[in-house]
Structures are given as structure tokens and as C-alpha cells.
């Protein structure tokens, strides 16, 4: 009797499924957050009431509870949620559904036979929102708002691994603002910052949403282009170059024209690591600088 009251009073969703995965119990918390009363789901197959549960991982977990008496854990990080409940109580939450941390385990009868499994559901939306904000902050450059060097290392590694694994085309562009020191010296560092911001936002606006733009350091930037071969990347680089060249930067009444130099490299047989890719693009960038600036150069083995 007392335990039953806890079942409904606890701030945690509790669901009990039998061996056929039919819902046996559905506590008050589940009623509130799903908008479905116990009477309407008890006795029904869980996979029918919640079709998103009909996936190999969930079924594998149920089997392992019944076969081994296992406990299984569904973290918010990988799964987001088990039960799609509207996340209503969080102002401006960017999550469509309540973020949940869930676990399941066995329920035994008096002979220790596993007859049912329990699932508990914990609302972790608030934590997930904070975490997402922190992660976002750690990935961005404070001045320009584009991605920072730190995140670039992670992202480049990840994309490099993914593209080599699937043997897909992959390119990067390194670029650098020409004579940036002169801008700082002539117009002051605030103007330098202004130029960095305008270049970042101009380029950000012109890339696809699968591309990533990073501030590599100082006035140097890097753009990674998934699923793009060298020719494609050269076209993109050329577009960057003209866009920046044509840009009129108004700072305190002065119109400041700037240009950028760009180096392009793609995944080839002599790219053995993400670091190689950067080095190749850097070599091309260096040639662009030496060749008179405001130009695009590509890395190729024989042009060293």
C-alpha cells in the first residue's frame, strides 16, 4: 500500500512491461507527461503505442533483461529520449521532446523467475539544455562567433575518419587576410577586429550548412568541405576570394577594401592524417601569398 503511493508520487516515470512487451503498469508521472491515462495503455503492446521503441537496440535490451537479468541504460546523450513527450515547461528549450535518461531491469517473482521488466524515465531536459549551451560556447570563437581552433581539431579528425572510411571526396580551404597588419597599424585594432568579424560573417553566409568555418588563429581561417572534391573546393575558394574583394567595409567613415589568399587541398593518396591535409592547404596558401596575394592555389604533389 505504501509502496503503491510512492509509485505514483515519485518524480520519475515508471513503466512495467511483461515478457510480450505489453504494458503492465504506467505510473502517474507517465500519465502527466504523456497525456495518456494508464487505463488507455495498460494491456497494450508497448511497441504499438510507441512505435519509436521498435528498434534493434530497444528490443536487444529487452531480450537481455529477460535472458540474463541485465540492467540496461539509455543515456540522453545517445538516445535523447525513449518516450516522445513534449517538453513544455522549459522556456525557449531547443529540444522538441523531453530529454530523458532511462534504465531498464528485471522484475522477478517469488521463485526468482524474471516475469516482467521495469523502465524508469528521468527528465533531464534542463541539464541537457545547459550542457548544449556549454558545448556550444566551448566550440565558438569569442570575437567572430564562428567555430574556434579547438573545435576544428575535433571536427577535422572526425570528418577525416568518416571520409576515409567511406572513401568519399573531402577538401579543406585555408585562407588568410592579406596585409592584415597594415589594417591594424593604419586604422587601429578595433578596426582589425571589425574586419575579422565582417570576413567571418561574409564567408559564413556563403557556405553550405554541411560546411564548417573555423578561425584557425590570428587572421587565418579554415573551411572544411565534406563530400567535395578538389575542383569543387577550388570553385568555392574562388567565390570566397571575389566576395571578400568586392566587400566594402565601412568603419568610422572609412571604406576599407581587403583581399584574401587561399590554399586548397583534398584527400589524396599522400594524405595520411588530418594534419597532412592542413599542411597541404597551408603549402598552397603559402604559394598564393608568394604568387602575389588575392589568389587561390591548390595543393598537388608535383607543384611543391
Amino acid at each position: 500500500m505504501i509502496l503503491n503511493q510512492i509509485f505514483d508520487a515519485i518524480n520519475l516515470g515508471i513503466v512495467i512491461l511483461d515478457a510480450d512487451l505489453k504494458i503492465q503498469s504506467w505510473n502517474r508521472w507517465m500519465e502527466i507527461h504523456s497525456g495518456i491515462e494508464a487505463g488507455d495503455v495498460v494491456g497494450k503492446p508497448a511497441l504499438e503505442s510507441f512505435p519509436n521503441l521498435d528498434n534493434p537496440r530497444f528490443i536487444r535490451s529487452c531480450k537481455s533483461v529477460f535472458s540474463f537479468g541485465n540492467f540496461c541504460f539509455f543515456s540522453q546523450k545517445l538516445h535523447g529520449y525513449l518516450f516522445p513527450f513534449k517538453s513544455s515547461s522549459y522556456v525557449g528549450s531547443e529540444f522538441k521532446y523531453m530529454q530523458q535518461s532511462c534504465a531498464m531491469g528485471p522484475l522477478r517473482d517469488e521463485n526468482n523467475q524474471i516475469k516482467c521488466l521495469f523502465i524508469y524515465v528521468q527528465d533531464v531536459t534542463e541539464v541537457a539544455v545547459y550542457e548544449r549551451k556549454l558545448v556550444e560556447m566551448s566550440m565558438r570563437d569569442g570575437l567572430t562567433g564562428i567555430y574556434n581552433r579547438r573545435f576544428m581539431d575535433t571536427k577535422l579528425n572526425e570528418e577525416y575518419f568518416r571520409h576515409t572510411r567511406y572513401s568519399r571526396a573531402f577538401s579543406i580551404i585555408m585562407f588568410d587576410i592579406d596585409k592584415f597588419k597594415k589594417v591594424n597599424d593604419e586604422y587601429g585594432h578595433q578596426c582589425g577586429d571589425f574586419i575579422l568579424k565582417s570576413v567571418s560573417s561574409r564567408i559564413s553566409a556563403s557556405i553550405r550548412n554541411i560546411d564548417f568555418l573555423f578561425r584557425y588563429g590570428g587572421e587565418e581561417f579554415c573551411c572544411i568541405l565534406p563530400e567535395t572534391n578538389l575542383e569543387g573546393a577550388e570553385l568555392v575558394a574562388e567565390r570566397f576570394r571575389t566576395a571578400i574583394m568586392e566587400m566594402e567595409n565601412n568603419f568610422n567613415g572609412d571604406v576599407i577594401k581587403i583581399t584574401i589568399s587561399l590554399g586548397v587541398a583534398d584527400l589524396t593518396n599522400d594524405t595520411a592524417s588530418p594534419g597532412d591535409l592542413i599542411q597541404h592547404a597551408d603549402e598552397a596558401l603559402y604559394r598564393a601569398k608568394r604568387g602575389g596575394r588575392n589568389r587561390v592555389e591548390s595543393y598537388s604533389v608535383n607543384k611543391k
Binding site: 534493434p56 537496440r57 536487444r60 535472458s67 537479468g69 541485465n70 540492467f71 568518416r162 567511406y166
Partner: protein, 216 residues
């Protein structure tokens, strides 16, 4: 029976032999149930049992996994009357191989989320199933019921980073139950160590006795 064996910290050779036999049965059953749960056959080697001081454990594990460049570890505590730590040590590359093995039926591929989170979670899931299968079967044969803590995972670390030796209580004895496993599909292998301390040993001796009495 020698004098040492009568203290609760020690197990006789005969008891070790019984435990060995129970492990053989348990792991045999686990392997077939595992095949059903994760759709691939897992080869579990005949388990090996060794009693040692807890402080010798890090060195022992290191010796076993020295062939691996890097290791990933899933650790889970289990407690029933039989309680302890399960350490599942995977060879390097296992996490990524497991992703391919388990997620092929999913929409994952080029669009997947960050690979490190996926790898972590996959190791955690497989580790959880594998540990549960082995510990659960063993407990079942000994008529015990165990519960588990959520698994902890360390992905692709050097051995020194992964296992600290400062953690262990000098006074304690460990029964190390070791098996190596290999997934039939996918290049996945490693070791499972079940470490149980002397608190469990007294119960274990009684349970072993009860087990053998069924056949006498």
C-alpha cells in the same frame, strides 16, 4: 584440507575446480543466449581462475593485455551475495568494429552523430550485455540474484592511463575469473575479468558446496 584453506580468505583446489566447472557451464549457456540477443556468435574461451592479492591485479591484467596497443575498458560493479567488479577489456579498434556490427541495421552512416559518443555508447551497451550474460549466468547457477551499477567506460587509452594501482585495498584477496572472447563477425576481442573480494568468498564456498551436493 590444509590450514590455509580453512580461513575464509582461501579456497581449496577442489573448490576452485568446482568453480571452474560452473564457469564452463555458465559461459557455455551465455554464449548461446548472447547469439540471440546481439545476432552474432561470441566465442568465449574456457575460463581461467586464479586467486591473488588485490594489489597484484593491475600487473596481472597488464600482462594479459600487453599485446594491445590501446585498450577500452567497461567496468561494472555487481552485487548480490556474490559481489565484485567486472572489467571488460577490449582490444583497440573494437569500439569502431562494434559500431559497424550493431548499427548496420540502423540509419547510421555518414549522418551519424559524433563518432566518439557513438563508440562510447556502443562499448557500453555491448559491455553491459556481455558482463550481464556472464555474471548473470554464473549467479543463476549459484542461486543468487545480482544487480548492477551503470557501466563506466574508458575508450582507447594506454594501459597506464586506464588502470590505476592506487585504487586497491592491500588487505583484500581477489578471485580473478578470466576469459577471452572473440566475436565471430567483426574484429572484436578482449578479456573479461571478474574480481570478487574476500567478502564474497565465504558465501561462494557455501554456494559451491550446495552446487556440488546436487550431484552427490
Amino acid at each position: 584440507m590444509d590450514i590455509e584453506a580453512q580461513s575464509t580468505n582461501h579456497i581449496t583446489d577442489e573448490e576452485l575446480a568446482i568453480l571452474q566447472e560452473i564457469m564452463n557451464i555458465a559461459f557455455g549457456q551465455s554464449a548461446s543466449d548472447l547469439a540471440e540477443v546481439i545476432d552474432t556468435h561470441v566465442l568465449l574461451a574456457v575460463p581461467f581462475i586464479k586467486v591473488m592479492k588485490v594489489t597484484e591485479l593491475p600487473g596481472y591484467i597488464k600482462e594479459q593485455v600487453k599485446e594491445y596497443k590501446q585498450i577500452s575498458i567497461v567496468e561494472q560493479k555487481f552485487w548480490g551475495k556474490f559481489k565484485g567488479d567486472a572489467l571488460l577489456v577490449f582490444s583497440s579498434g573494437s569500439g569502431k568494429a562494434l559500431i559497424n556490427l550493431l548499427q548496420s541495421d540502423d540509419r547510421r552512416g555518414m549522418e551519424a552523430g559524433p563518432i566518439d559518443i557513438l563508440e562510447r555508447e556502443t562499448l557500453m551497451e555491448v559491455g553491459n550485455i556481455l558482463i550481464g550474460a556472464c555474471v548473470g549466468k554464473l549467479a543463476e547457477l549459484l542461486r543468487d540474484v545480482v544487480t548492477y551499477t551503470p557501466p563506466l567506460v574508458m575508450v582507447e587509452k594506454e594501459y597506464e592511463e586506464a588502470i590505476s594501482s592506487g585504487y586497491y585495498d592491500h588487505e583484500k584477496t581477489a578471485i580473478v575469473l578470466k576469459t577471452d572472447f572473440r566475436f565471430e563477425s567483426g574484429n572484436v576481442s578482449g578479456f573479461l575479468f571478474l574480481v570478487t573480494s574476500n567478502e564474497s568468498i565465504k558465501w561462494l564456498r557455501d554456494a559451491l558446496q550446495r552446487f556440488i551436493e546436487q550431484y552427490e
